[in-house]
């Protein structure tokens, strides 16, 4: 059974259709990448799944149960936890305390929560910064804090919204390592990402959105040569050139 099942989810803002009958599923233990050009509706879909928006149509099943329209905290309590693309540190609390707030969700007492928070801080390499107020962190640190905080809740499904954007390539490599470690520990991941070098090597499946529609869903290896995907990213001209090259390749 799929851990997350998105069924025909539609989200309209007035006349604007941000998500149009999007369906896909996330298997337990998988890493699923959600990509698409700017404005494709990736973050909107995240907001629908995490309960920030109530979808106009369709339904979302998590762990076999319908979670459509539940409040964000109810969804988080069931084990689907997200990060925010536009980072949201609890500014006046220290980095450690930020992570601790997450840790309290599934820890019985505060001793256990402290241990859990310390683990996640170490995993996301935030140790040297942990006593600083979260508002004072550089952007890379804030992105890692988003991840550590969500991770501390012991989620079943961790939804990462562009945690690699704006990072140096060394930092991207570090994030990739962290993500792989998370999968080893049994967490299922769904990742919205623009940084292809980050997501392509690690994803089991890529879902591509464009203009609110799902245009492809496949293994990363096949996605990169998918005509519609290339068209969405680079335009029709490049798509034709690419096709011609593919067809011409055996001759040359």
């Amino acid at each position: 059974m799929a851990l997350l099942e998105v069924r025909e989810v539609t989200m309209k803002f007035g006349e604007l259709v941000a998500n149009d009958r999007v369906s896909f599923s996330v298997e337990p233990g998988a890493i699923v990448g959600l990509i698409g050009p700017n404005g494709a509706g990736k973050t909107t879909l995240f907001n629908c799944i995490s309960g920030l928006y109530r979808p106009t149509g369709g339904s979302i099943l998590f762990d076999g149960k319908d979670i459509t329209g539940l409040t964000p905290y109810a969804i988080a309590r069931r084990g689907a936890v997200r990060t925010f693309q536009v980072v949201r540190p609890l500014k006046e609390m220290t980095v450690f305390d930020n992570v601790l707030v997450g840790a309290f969700l599934n820890c019985r007492d505060h001793r256990e929560a402290f241990t859990r928070a310390a683990e996640c801080i170490a995993l996301c390499q935030l140790e040297p910064l942990q006593r600083k107020p979260a508002g004072e962190l550089p952007i890379g640190g804030k992105k890692r804090l988003e991840m550590a905080r969500a991770l501390a809740t012991r989620p079943k499904l961790l939804m990462l919204d562009e945690v690699m954007a704006g990072l140096t390539s060394t930092e991207v490599k570090a994030s990739v390592e962290v993500i792989l470690k998370l999968r080893e520990s049994g967490i299922t991941l769904m990742i919205v990402e623009h940084v292809m070098e980050g997501i392509m090597p690690i994803a089991d499946k890529i879902v591509v959105l464009d203009g609110g529609l799902k245009i492809a869903e496949d293994a990363p290896g096949r996605i990169v040569s998918d005509e519609r995907v290339i068209e969405a990213y680079l335009g029709a001209k490049y798509s034709r050139r690419f096709k011609a090259r593919e067809e011409g390749a055996p001759l040359g």
């Binding site: 925010f84 707030v101 309290f104 969500a150």
Partner: protein
């Protein structure tokens, strides 16, 4: 900051409390002296401000309605003694429970309002209660409740000749409320309150039911405030609506906390330790100017604090400490850890 179950700071607090407990033995503290009166009020107002600090400071929901809860507590004790001729204790408990219930009923719709609208709504509520109690016969309307002369002692929570017993009661109240907030600071609910203050949506994304957190914080804050109100009634041996349910009184909860440093354990005590002596001594020495001198100085101090250091006196202390640390070890610049 990383909270431990028991820290050096707590040891300092315990030492300070022991000092307070021994203070009445000092020769200047005669049983009925004015100094004793000021000390009692400092402890009482520090406790009130700390109760407010739970919802206003830690949880970030600025309430100007706390005199309502204070008044309900005061009337609870007053009615038990004056109207029903018994001991104040059952009235105190009923007052506390009622204040908690009223707080939930009032705040539930108000929490749907964001930011400043919550503060404005609580303003209006004070006036509604103040005026209603003035014309309500059951609570003796504008006449108020005057305590009869009855047997003194702990069972009636009332003493005539000596303020020492009141002082120890105030100390117990102080210990109770400050201890409770200290406990909250280190536990889940305390973290959740701060998370809701710093970012409601973020807190919710981490599984925090922010409405429930705010309502619980408000109920707890109101209940403790009512307990302070009951003590105030027992100390003054009189209750009337303008005395306990006015906007003036509501402002004191806010001003003392903001002055000292809201959202900190020490803040309410610092605020009360500065503002209450100011209020009482100006009243004693310049009372002839028609009252209100203390409020003028109050106002000036608050303007200064809000402009210069919004984190209050606790913020000033932290600044000074950082500067001292920097002077000692200029290489580290005040921060204790070397982040790359």
């Amino acid at each position: 900051m990383q909270q431990q179950a028991f820290s050096k700071k707590d040891a300092a607090w315990l030492g300070f409390l022991a000092l307070l407990a021994l203070l009445p033995l000092a020769p200047v503290m005669e049983a009925n002296s004015f100094h004793m009166h000021v000390l009692i009020l400092i402890l009482l107002f520090a406790s009130m401000a700390q109760a407010w600090n739970i919802i206003g400071g830690y949880c970030g929901q600025v309430s100007f309605g706390h005199s309502v809860f204070f008044g309900i507590g005061a009337y609870g004790a007053g009615m038990a003694v004056v109207t029903y001729g018994g001991a104040p204790w059952p009235g105190i408990l009923i007052g506390m429970a009622l204040a908690g219930a009223v707080a939930v009923v009032i705040s539930y719709p108000c929490f749907k309002l964001s930011g400043h609208y919550f503060a404005i709504a609580t303003f209006a509520i004070v006036e509604i209660f103040n005026r209603s109690f003035l014309v309500w016969d059951w609570v003796n309307g504008a006449l108020g409740l005057d305590y009869p002369v009855i047997e003194e002692g702990l069972h009636n929570l009332m003493w005539y000749d000596s303020k020492t017993a009141y002082y120890y009661c105030a100390l117990v109240l102080f210990l109770l409320i400050f201890g409770m907030v200290r406990w909250l600071e280190a536990h889940r609910f305390g973290y959740y309150m701060r998370a809701v203050r710093e970012g409601q949506e973020t807190a919710e994304s981490l599984g925090v039911n922010s409405t429930a957190v705010k309502l619980t914080a408000m109920a707890l804050s109101a209940t403790l405030t009512a307990l302070c109100g009951a003590f105030f009634a027992q100390y003054n041996l009189r209750v009337d609506s303008p005395m306990v349910m006015s906007l003036d009184m509501s402002m004191k909860f806010v001003l003392i906390t903001v002055m000292g440093g809201s959202g900190t354990l020490l803040g309410p005590l610092l605020g009360a330790a500065v503002l209450i002596p100011l209020q009482e001594y100006t009243r004693a020495f310049w009372g002839g100017l028609g009252g209100g001198v203390d409020l003028i100085i109050f106002g000036l101090l608050i303007i200064l604090i809000v402009v210069k250091q919004p984190a209050g006196m606790v913020g000033i202390i932290n600044d000074v400490r950082k500067r001292l640390a920097r002077r000692k070890d200029p290489a580290k610049g005040g921060e204790t850890h070397g982040a790359p």
